[in-house]
């Protein structure tokens, strides 16, 4: 296949950035989208240009490192798929494809397609955990967890922290990410003691980081590669209200 790529190039945080056009001709339908960039980068290097910087690691759809807004959609056109798992057979010969970084106030661009997502880590620091000191845990079977709860907690826990939800949201909100963690921990008996403080602290940290508020537009779940549902956000809202009331 032959493709035309328009890629966002930005030398650093202070550079204005621009779209640059490249042609790639020997594209195999079996390539992943990142392998397409690898091939292009090899060419750029040999041609004396700097390769395009992008984040990636596992290339198995699980580490959450890869990003890329492809033709306007975070992680591209295929539903429930990360960019590294998106294969070129989804595209057709002669297509023109736009590639841009995640754009959100809380995710400043570092270079080209690489953005800074450490704000997510700071939301977790604010309370996205269960305080369980090492070495003194109770026997695992001493607290049964009903299977439906465990399954639902697992579903929420599959969030890979990629940030596509933020990139898709018109408000740049990180609510789906935050809600996924709140839902995961809130569904387990182990997560109950810190449930109220967790939601208050995490939502506070979320806002402090410059993520926008959630107005239920639903763009986030549409692009989420792990299918985290909007119901997670309702759960967060419920927990939040409960915690505020309990406090006052």
């Amino acid at each position: 296949m032959r493709l035309k790529l328009r890629v966002w190039r930005q030398t650093g945080p202070d550079d204005a950035g621009r779209m640059v056009t490249y042609e790639v001709d020997d594209v195999s339908p079996d390539m992943s989208f990142l392998e397409l960039l690898d091939v292009l980068n090899e060419k750029l290097i040999l041609g004396g240009e700097e390769p395009i910087a992008f984040d990636h690691d596992c290339r198995e759809g699980i580490c959450g490192a890869c990003s890329l807004v492809i033709n306007g959609t975070p992680h591209g056109p295929q539903k429930a798929t990360t960019t590294c798992q998106l294969h070129m057979r989804t595209f057709s010969d002669g297509d023109s494809i736009d590639v841009e970084p995640w754009r959100a106030r809380a995710f400043p661009v570092i270079k080209d397609l690489v953005v800074d997502r450490t704000a997510f880590d700071r939301i977790i620091q604010a309370g996205g955990y269960i305080t369980a000191p090492t070495g003194s845990a109770p026997e695992a079977h001493s607290v049964p967890v009903p299977k439906p709860d465990a399954d639902a907690a697992f579903e929420a826990a599959t969030c890979i922290g990629c940030g596509a939800c933020v990139a898709a949201c018109p408000n740049g909100s990180g609510m789906l990410f935050t809600a996924a963690k709140i839902t995961h921990l809130g569904l387990m008996p182990q997560g109950q003691p810190e449930r109220d403080s967790r939601v208050l602290n995490m939502v506070h940290a979320h806002d402090e980081e410059g993520f926008g508020g959630c107005t239920n537009s639903g763009e986030c779940t549409a692009v989420c590669p792990k299918g985290i549902p909007l119901a997670a956000i309702s759960q967060l809202n419920k927990d939040f209200l409960h915690a505020v009331r309990a406090k006052s």
Binding site: E49, C58, E60, D121, A132, P146
Partner: protein, 646 residues
């Protein structure tokens, strides 16, 4: 065979306690010096790596009261390679009452490792496995559960009991998130200083002790020297030396290799685990191989056509023209034989010309029977996400046609040599997780790496490091100290040298070529002739690399080509040592299959009389030969026997 290495002294002391094996760990713990809480605050520990090993260690050390500095090359500790582990984690809980016990897990692991691991370590691992599950459950890890609310388990390659705990096909992710959340909590509390997007490029040794590291901030390009009272490497495995592997793209050997060059012994580098169930290679563009969890072998049946070159679609091949070769050769274990056995069997049938798919490098993993027996819904509930992943990558629907799989490089059992306390041969340098060599012998059983990473990080290291740190805090260091400045200079010189070559080949092209040499000659099957050839090819390619590689850009700022170049440079040196190690070990064991050493049935033939030892290599110098030190292995509790799964 001294044309490639020199012989050194045997390793005298592994610090393993003697006496009854059941109480060795308890006695060691009791014997270790304690550090009082007020002093812990004054002690700093550097932890390189935030995977299951490093993440759990950093969180636990911080919780104990030490000041911790943590490093990883990804943008967030949550993305460490451990996140990709699919199948599960073993623990001798015996929740199923199917005859499991600490002793059986110990026994299976020593046997599975082909009698090339240490009894004391493995026994400790089996003991701690039980506590790991408790710890992770307390953290909220959403393991799979039964309807009654209790934890579910499954069986995994090489085990006849159901001792593997799992969270669908994403066990590594869930366990890592547990450790990451514990780590973030300590970061939030100010006890851990987290440095993401930072790469360790050198070890700092002062007065014979590991006292710090030289790191490059991958965003600003700034190089700094960081000090501590002890350094812990949890930097993962080196399977990416093969270029194509199931490892994350960034996995590398640099942290370990830099320590090796400064005096840490590197043990058993040739032991590579090849995983039998990966998606076959589809073309030259391929950048990595994807694993299909081994748990699939619980229900999937492996087969190839009986006839050579049978090109018919799988559905058109009648039952009696199929060879379910694992069930045929290994009736007791069938499709569940350990990885080394399953991988070699797949290679053999493909070598016979009975492989399927492009190039004949594949075998079928068929779910038709399981779908018929259990129903599609049940199969979907168990393996749905793996099936989806397969379909996305290959464009084929595994509910309709059997999956095609082929072995791929997956895990490295070798690593830096450590004693029972997980301390390397450099005082103050500890090594945990896949980066050390200690617990898996020549072959790792499924679901054991996660167990080892967490055992090391949550339970072993936090106990043993105190014994060392009790002598600290050590003298304060500054950046202008001779040995510190020299380490920093080494890093700067290397970067300058790489950037100055400005040749006409990319880093990736060298890496791919190195990978092909390694797969061909130091992969699933090794021969004397092939290994000698590989050593010479590697030396030539390495020389070419230093003349022709092109690393664009500069050192100031994010430069992913520069990062790769440094890692590939270290892979060249490691690759040579792997081949030398493989060449000297003229026996077959676990992941090391020497074609010259097999029995009449083509099964691996161990040579306990001559090779029942750990090969620990000392860096000889830039143009000198490595030096071989042996650690003899004793088996008091599990007597070496021919490993048969028939």
């Amino acid at each position: 065979m001294t044309e490639f290495y020199e012989d050194g002294d045997n390793i005298a002391d592994t610090k393993a306690p003697d006496g009854p094996i059941e109480t060795r760990w308890e006695r060691r713990r009791f014997g270790a010096k304690l550090v009082n809480p007020a002093n812990k605050r004054k002690l700093t520990v550097i932890v390189v790596g935030t995977g299951l090993a490093g993440g759990s260690a950093a969180a636990t050390l911080a919780e104990l009261g030490y000041h911790v500095k943590s490093y990883c090359y990804q943008d967030s500790p949550r993305r460490a390679h451990s996140i990709a582990a699919q199948g599960g984690i073993n623990a001798a809980k015996n929740y199923r009452g199917d005859g499991d016990s600490i002793h059986r897990l110990f026994y299976d692991t020593v046997k599975g490792g082909d009698f090339r691991s240490r009894e004391s370590n493995v026994r400790r691992l089996a003991e701690i496995s039980v506590e790991i599950i408790d710890q992770c459950v307390a953290q909220g890890v959403p393991f799979a559960r039964e309807y009654g609310g209790l934890l579910d388990t499954r069986s995994f390659g090489g085990a006849q009991v159901s001792r593997t705990f799992y969270a669908r096909g994403q066990t590594g992710q869930q366990l890592l998130l547990g450790a990451y959340q514990a780590l973030e909590r300590q970061i939030g509390a100010g006890n851990v200083e987290m440095n993401a997007r930072h790469e360790m490029l050198e070890l700092i040794i002062v007065d014979g002790r590991a006292r710090g590291i030289v790191v490059r901030d991958l965003v600003s390009g700034e190089i700094t020297t960081e000090f501590a009272d002890a350094v812990v490497l949890a930097s993962g495995g080196y399977g990416n030396v093969f270029y194509l592997s199931t490892n994350a793209k960034g996995c590398n050997v640099t942290a370990s290799w830099r320590a090796h060059r400064k005096g840490a012994l590197f043990a058993n580098p040739c032991y590579t685990q090849i995983h039998p169930t990966c998606i076959p290679v589809s073309g030259d563009h391929q950048s990595k191989l994807t694993l299909m969890s081994e748990s699939l072998r619980n229900d999937g049946r492996v087969w190839v056509p009986k006839a050579k070159g049978d090109q018919r679609a799988p559905g058109a091949i009648p039952e009696d023209e199929r060879d379910y070769y694992l069930e045929r050769i290994y009736p007791a274990f069938g499709n569940l034989v350990p990885r080394d056995i399953a991988s070699r069997a797949a290679k053999n049938v493909c070598d016979e010309g009975r492989g399927v798919g492009p190039g004949g490098l594949g075998v079928y993993l068929d779910f038709a029977d399981a779908i018929q027996r259990l129903g599609r819904a049940a199969v979907e509930a168990k393996y749905g996400n793996l099936f989806e992943m397969y379909q996305r990558i290959t464009g084929e629907d595994p509910y309709e046609v059997p999956m095609r799989i082929y072995p791929a490089v997956h895990y490295t059992m070798g690593g830096l040599w450590v004693d029972y306390d997980l301390q390397s041969t450099i005082p103050g340098l500890f090594v945990i997780g896949e980066a050390n060599f200690s617990d898996h012998g020549a072959n790792r059983l499924g679901a054991s790496a996660l167990m080892q990473g967490l055992a090391d990080g949550y339970f072993v290291l936090p106990n043993t490091i105190g014994d060392y740190l009790a002598a600290g805090p050590f003298d304060k260091l500054t950046a202008d100290h001779d040995q510190v400045a020299a380490a920093r200079q080494q890093v700067e010189d290397r970067i300058t040298r790489l950037l100055a070559i400005n040749g006409d080949r990319t880093v990736d092209s060298f890496h791919r070529e190195l990978g092909r040499i390694m797969w061909e000659y130091c992969g699933m099957e090794r021969t004397d002739e092939g290994l000698r050839k590989a050593i010479s090819l590697i030396r030539d390619l390495k020389a070419e690399f230093w003349q022709r590689v092109r690393v664009p850009g500069d050192g100031e700022g994010l430069n992913q080509s520069l990062e790769k170049a440094g890692r590939v440079a270290d892979f060249f040196e490691l690759a040579e040592l792997m081949c030398i190690d493989a060449l000297h070990r003229t026996e077959s064991c676990g992941g090391h299959f020497r074609a010259e050493s097999q029995d009449a049935d083509g099964e691996a033939k161990r040579d306990d009389e001559h090779f029942s030892y750990v090969a620990a290599w000392e860096w000889g110098g830039e143009d000198a030969q490595p030096v071989l030190h042996k650690e003899d292995l004793d088996f008091e509790y599990v007597h070496p026997s021919t490993r048969s799964y028939k």
